[in-house]
């Protein structure tokens, strides 16, 4: 407890001169600095384990997940299911994460790692933390560590093990995280390759797929495109270790995040992994030939097909080019950029500035793009 007050005193004594001496317009910047300094000071006490990090993850499920200042600490904000995270470390049952430049702690039972899905195991909520309350710093750290050591229901891997596979040219190596646990159905499940090959061989031949070569001089294949979509949509997790179906905040389901009505229209059961992949591949036949995407060619067609999959192929926003979308910052810009990075397609200066501002967090644009390429190519390998 004394350490906590000492910490607050240090933070305020550090920040006060800045407030006193700077005009209003600069105070905002100083307050942000203060928040970062506060987080840094907290982390000196929490001391998250950073060996094996950073890794990329996503918030699982359809609800929102609290970001706290420290394990079981003050709630800073909440993020919806599907949010991408840069996981910087782990402390007990909490991951130390970064979302769009904001750092904090999130309960790891609700976070998907690539091929190590969230368990969704309900944690023991100390004090009034279930209602949004918090524990003092040292109590929170102790409670989180104690729960992690006594529980077997947290993520099977706090630091995912990876092996590397060689790819052509100078492309980043494909990262292949460990096998699924419990009732999980992921791209590492033994049947995945069969389901994937079946879906691709049944439908990809009917796609009006453009001929595109990436920045590594490699022709983009239908398989790579399909894997990119699976990675962007679900991080390759159809069901987590508890058997819970990956479902987004808007109700989209499974590997390819089919909306229930879309799955019905395609004549598949989106909750079944094989049918989910089959439905997604079938959907792309319609997407590539749809009113707006069908008129495009080359990279624009490929990227806009991804945007159309995300937005819906008959959206009026698909009438223009992807360049228009980026310039106007409307539509599925972030999605289209993820498609480009997963496929190893070069980004324009405008696109790079969007990625830097809104997507890559503290990472460089190139490091972020390489990470997406690696994980996307590692799916099912």
């Amino acid at each position: 407890m004394n350490k906590y007050f000492l910490l607050l005193f240090m933070v305020f004594s550090f920040a006060m001169p800045c407030w006193a001496e700077t005009p209003f317009t600069e105070q905002t910047v100083r307050l942000q600095d203060t928040a970062a300094a506060e987080m840094e000071a907290i982390n000196k006490i929490v001391k998250p384990e950073t060996n094996g990090f950073p890794v990329t993850g996503t918030i699982a499920g359809c609800g929102t997940l609290r970001m706290r200042q420290w394990p079981w600490g003050k709630v800073m904000t909440k993020y919806p299911g599907g949010t991408s995270l840069n996981i910087l470390g782990v402390s007990g049952e909490f991951f130390y994460v970064e979302v769009n430049g904001q750092k904090g702690y999130m309960h790891r039972n609700y976070i998907n790692l690539p091929n190590a899905p969230a368990t969704f195991a309900a944690p023991y909520y100390p004090g009034d933390t279930r209602e949004g309350g918090y524990l003092p710093l040292n109590d929170g750290i102790a409670a989180a560590k104690s729960a992690a050591s006594s529980s077997s229901s947290t993520n099977a891997t706090s630091t995912p093990t990876s092996t590397s596979a060689t790819v052509n040219g100078n492309a980043p190596a494909a990262k292949v995280p460990g096998a699924p646990t419990g009732q999980a159905i992921t791209t590492k499940s033994p049947e995945f390759k069969k389901w994937f090959d079946n879906a691709v061989s049944t439908w990809a031949g009917k796609w009006a797929f453009p001929d595109v070569t990436n920045k590594y001089g490699k022709k983009v294949s239908v398989e790579e495109f399909m894997k990119a979509i699976i990675f962007i949509e679900s991080s390759g997790v159809h069901r987590n270790a508890s058997g819970k179906l990956t479902t987004s905040y808007c109700g989209a389901q499974g590997f390819m995040q089919l909306m229930p009505a879309t799955a019905k229209g395609l004549g598949v059961d989106g909750t079944d992994p094989a049918q989910n992949l089959m439905g997604g591949a079938k959907f792309f036949k319609e997407v590539f030939s749809s009113r707006y995407v069908g008129q495009k060619s080359g990279i624009d067609k490929l990227v806009m097909a991804g945007c159309a999959y995300n937005m819906g192929p008959y959206s009026k926003k698909l009438a223009g080019s992807f360049e228009d979308m980026v310039r106007n910052r409307s539509g599925a810009v972030g999605y289209g950029l993820k498609v480009k990075m997963c496929l190893g397609l070069a980004l324009t200066d405008l696109e790079r500035s969007y990625v830097k501002e809104k997507m890559s967090g503290s990472k460089s644009v190139d490091a972020y793009a390489d990470q997406l390429y690696s994980y996307s190519h590692g799916l099912g390998a």
Binding site: Y79, S84, N100, C250, Y309, N310, M311, P313, Y314
Partner: protein, 199 residues
Amino acid sequence: MLMLTSFILTRMAWVPEEKNHMKKNFLALFAALLLPFTASAEALNEKIEIATGPAGRLMLHKQQAEGMVAREDRLTIEKDGKASLVFSSEGRAIERVLHANLDGTGGDELLIVMELGGSAGMLELAMMQFKDGKYEQIWEETGFSAGKVSLADQDGDKNPDIVIEYFTDDTPPKEARGIYSFKSGKVSLLKTLPPGKAG
């Protein structure tokens, strides 16, 4: 297919009474073979009455071909046995049609809420105004992810405004609310509320 069905049924009439079990089995087999052909024509074909007014009955026809996401939904006005087209969805799925007098003058406006079928659960909206005896499209807005649309007075003028709760395209997406007002024949964004506290 109709001719083949008529031919087979006609021939079956000549099967003697004592071979009725054969007749039953054959008809069951024939029906099973016929089923995929009849089912493949349309996965969805519904007609729903939305409202009735002086212009006639406003009807929503939902139509979708088997195995497709595209919907060819239509809104029509039916009067005196004649139907005239009000709006065609062009691939999008009309899920709701809200009708209310949004500007306090004339008749009800129609707010058409369409789902796009993509993984982000996005919506598009179209608004129709009844003018000079027919409906005209005066507004179209797109890109609301996982949106909830309702009508409620937000600016105190006693006329309902359009309230849209949605997720932004930011990474990560943020919850937001857009309020649109319809006045003097124009729809304008009244305000966008900052992302709320989720969950």
